[in-house]
Structure formats: structure tokens, C-alpha cells
Symmetry: C2
Subunit: 244 residues, 2 copies
């Protein structure tokens, strides 16, 4: 049964086994949780996997921007709250607030979701999801909206990768979080150990599939790195990482 639930909260504890070498939550796990809680809320308000599938539609993450003051630490209880900021026939804007122990605000995430028509592999029309309109919340999200990520300049680093079995999700294309892993893997462990990320933005542009061989171009000037994953001539995704 669909319900009008404007805000959905999920409480977690960061396990040691999930933590990175800094004993904090990895950015990719946060992204996974963001997708998870968006999926949960969609189920609650009646626009989840089952309902969408009846129209051969599936939600696809199009953009994500993350700004964290700090990441949850090992054994810390943290919560993610999600709400819909806007909705139209083309896409839905959904935000998240992450709080840590004692309700400390750790950061915010902005996401934009399209629906994909699973047969035609084209964006689906969301006009029939009228039910979304009444769940829009005016809760503020204090981080900037994502601008257009433009083609990057001369690369300062180039990487390569071929997508394997474990990179493929239930839509039969490369999982959104796996692009992030691939992007963050362009820096060595020591760089991540000593550099916090102030803002991470990603825009997903084209699907990639099993066995696709991609190039990862990174153009970094001081603390700002622009990157893209190229699949032959198509840009699979663009990303901007601002280190503190």
C-alpha cells in the first residue's frame, strides 16, 4: 500500500568490516546507502521496483552530488533521511541528509533520477506518477545544485579498465557505484589517506556493459579534479572531485 511519507529515515551502524583504511565510511558505501534509501522510499510511496516494472520502467540515477563535513566513523550510529525536492515528467530531484552520533549533521547529498524504459532503453515518461507530487517536501538542502559537467581539459592522468561480472547490476549494465570506485581508484591509497573530499559530483550519461573497455581521463589542477569515463567515443560519465 502506497503511503504519503514525505521523509524517510534509515538508521545504520558503521561496521568495522565496512570501513576503509581511515576507519571511516568509504564514499562508495555512502553512495550505495543513498541508492538503497532512495529505493526504500520509492517502495513506501508506491513508485518502487514492482510498480515501475509493470510499465517496463526502472529508476536510474542520473546525477549525484555529495558534500560531507566528515564521514561516519567505525562503530558510529548514523542516519540517512531522504525527501523529494521536486518532480516533473522527466525526472525527480531527491535529497539526503546524513547525521551521526548525537544528531550531528555530517553532510548532504543531492540526486536526480530518471526512469528508463527497459525495452526501448530510452528515458520513460513520469507523468503517470501523479502520486509523487504530493510527497514533495520543502525541507531545505543547503548544498549547491550540480552544474553542467563540461568536457574535461587535457588529462593529467589516464587509466584503463574492462568491466567484469561483479560490476554489472540488475539492469544488466554497469552499477552506478562501480563507476565511482573506478574514478576514485585513479588516486593511490596514500592520496586518499591524506586528502578529504569536500565535494563529489557525478553525472551518468551513457550505459556501459559487461566486457566494455573504458578509458578514465582525469584533469586535475590543484585540489579540483575533473574526470570522465570514455567507452569508445561515448562519455559514460563525468565527475568532479574537489579535495579539501
Amino acid at each position: 500500500m502506497a503511503q504519503v511519507v514525505k521523509e524517510h529515515v534509515h538508521h545504520y551502524v558503521l561496521n568495522a568490516s565496512e570501513s576503509n583504511a581511515r576507519r571511516e565510511m568509504p564514499l562508495t558505501l555512502l553512495a550505495q546507502r543513498v541508492i538503497e534509501i532512495a529505493t526504500e522510499h520509492a517502495d513506501i510511496i508506491g513508485v518502487g521496483f514492482d510498480v515501475m516494472m509493470k510499465d517496463n520502467l526502472a529508476w536510474v540515477l542520473s546525477r549525484m552530488s555529495i558534500e560531507m563535513n566528515r564521514m561516519p566513523r567505525v562503530r558510529e550510529e548514523y542516519s540517512i533521511t531522504t525527501w523529494i525536492e521536486s518532480y516533473n515528467r522527466h525526472y525527480s530531484e531527491r535529497n539526503m541528509e546524513i547525521t551521526g552520533a548525537n544528531g550531528e549533521v555530517l553532510g548532504f547529498v543531492r540526486t536526480i533520477w530518471f526512469a528508463i524504459d527497459l525495452n526501448k532503453r530510452t528515458p520513460g515518461d513520469l507523468s503517470m506518477l501523479e502520486s509523487l507530487a504530493i510527497t514533495v517536501s520543502d525541507r531545505p538542502c543547503p548544498i549547491e545544485k550540480q552544474g553542467r559537467l563540461r568536457p574535461i581539459g587535457e588529462p593529467t592522468h589516464v587509466g584503463e579498465y574492462r568491466f567484469r561480472y561483479s560490476d554489472i547490476d540488475f539492469n544488466n549494465h554497469v552499477n552506478s557505484v562501480k563507476y565511482m570506485e573506478l574514478l576514485l581508484n585513479q588516486w593511490p591509497l596514500e592520496y586518499h589517506q591524506s586528502h578529504d573530499i569536500a565535494r563529489f559530483e557525478i553525472a551518468y550519461l551513457h550505459e556501459t556493459h559487461f566486457d566494455d573497455e573504458v578509458k578514465v581521463n582525469v584533469a586535475q589542477v590543484e585540489n579540483v579534479a575533473d574526470a570522465e569515463i570514455l567507452n569508445e567515443n561515448a562519455v559514460a560519465c563525468r565527475c568532479r572531485v574537489i579535495f579539501k
Copy 2:
């Protein structure tokens, strides 16, 4: 506060975003959940991350054997129950039962855990963890214990990989689940789409680290594949996959 809790259960729902192209739980996610619930139970009975760290110890997964009748399906509620089968000063045997909707038994997992001394990087002595003894349960686990995984024969397939940032865990070595990903990635997507795994066994032998370049040797005869990940001359792990 430590408690005597012989069995610990965690209830989950398999999200669409977590599912593989078969719309089921990936084996690697099951392994992640197994490690997660073991970590939770250790916390409850007073031998968790914080307590162990006081003696500079951390739990390390040494062996894991998985037999599933079927995997949880997308949107299915499933539960994992864990209990300790035995405990001595060298290691602890911990089992799991996975049940799906309506309590259907989906399968079982056996694990063996050592403690590692984080300074010396050698196995730690567990004799001081007397508290574990009273939490041993006689609940049966109907799958076979793991035999010794011997050096594999002439490889029928050889792969290569260099461990990246996202492969490293809080102990500063390669995450146990990432070895499984690497092993399963030696088969193409189509093979996994059409072949269920009857039993998966893995033995972790030597740590590997960021930027280590490894070889993956697979010797498969019909439905039985033996594999090992080699880091220069050390065997990082051995694995046996029995396909149905």
C-alpha cells in the same frame, strides 16, 4: 555490555539496487552480510572491534564455505542467523543459516576466524577470550566442513589484476570480499547467468596490499573449478567453486 546470546539474527530485504542481472543476491553480497552479522554478534557477546583493539587484535576471516539451494530474490525478505560452533585458543568456527520468505531455508555458511595481532601481523592468542566458551551453540549446520584446499593443477585460465584503493579495508589489506569478486570475475557474465553455484569454498592464506599485482589461476574440470590468487610467490587465497 557483553551478553550471552547464542544466536544472533538479522532481517534484511534484498533491494533492487543490490541485485545482480539475475535479479538475485550476488554471492559477494552474501559474503559481505556474513562478515557483517559475524561482526555484529561479536560486538553483542563482548568480543567486538573495540574490545579486541585494546589487545591490538582484529578478527580475520580465514575460511568460508557457502552452500545455497537458491539465493534471495529481489524484494524478498530474508534473515541470517549466526552462532558459534566451536572455539579454541587459535580460532573460532562460526556458522550461518539463511532463510527466505516464509522461513524457507535457503542455505548455510561455515566460517573460521583467526585473530591477527595488528602490530606483529601474526595470529593472536585467543585464550583470554574465555567469554566465547559459554556462547558456543549446538545448533546443527548440515553442510560439510571445508577440507584442505591443495595447490591447483595445470591452469585452464589465467587472469591478472592490480589491487586498487577501493579494494583496501580497515586493516589496510585487501578486503576478503574483493578476492571473491576477483575470483568470480574470471568467468564471463553469460556463464554466471546460466550456472548456479552449488558450493563455494575459500581459504585466505596471505595478506595482499594496495598496488600488489596478482595472478589468478583457475583449473576447471567440468563443473569443479579450483582457483588461486598468487602474489609473487605467495598464495593469497585458494578457492573451490562447484557449479550445479
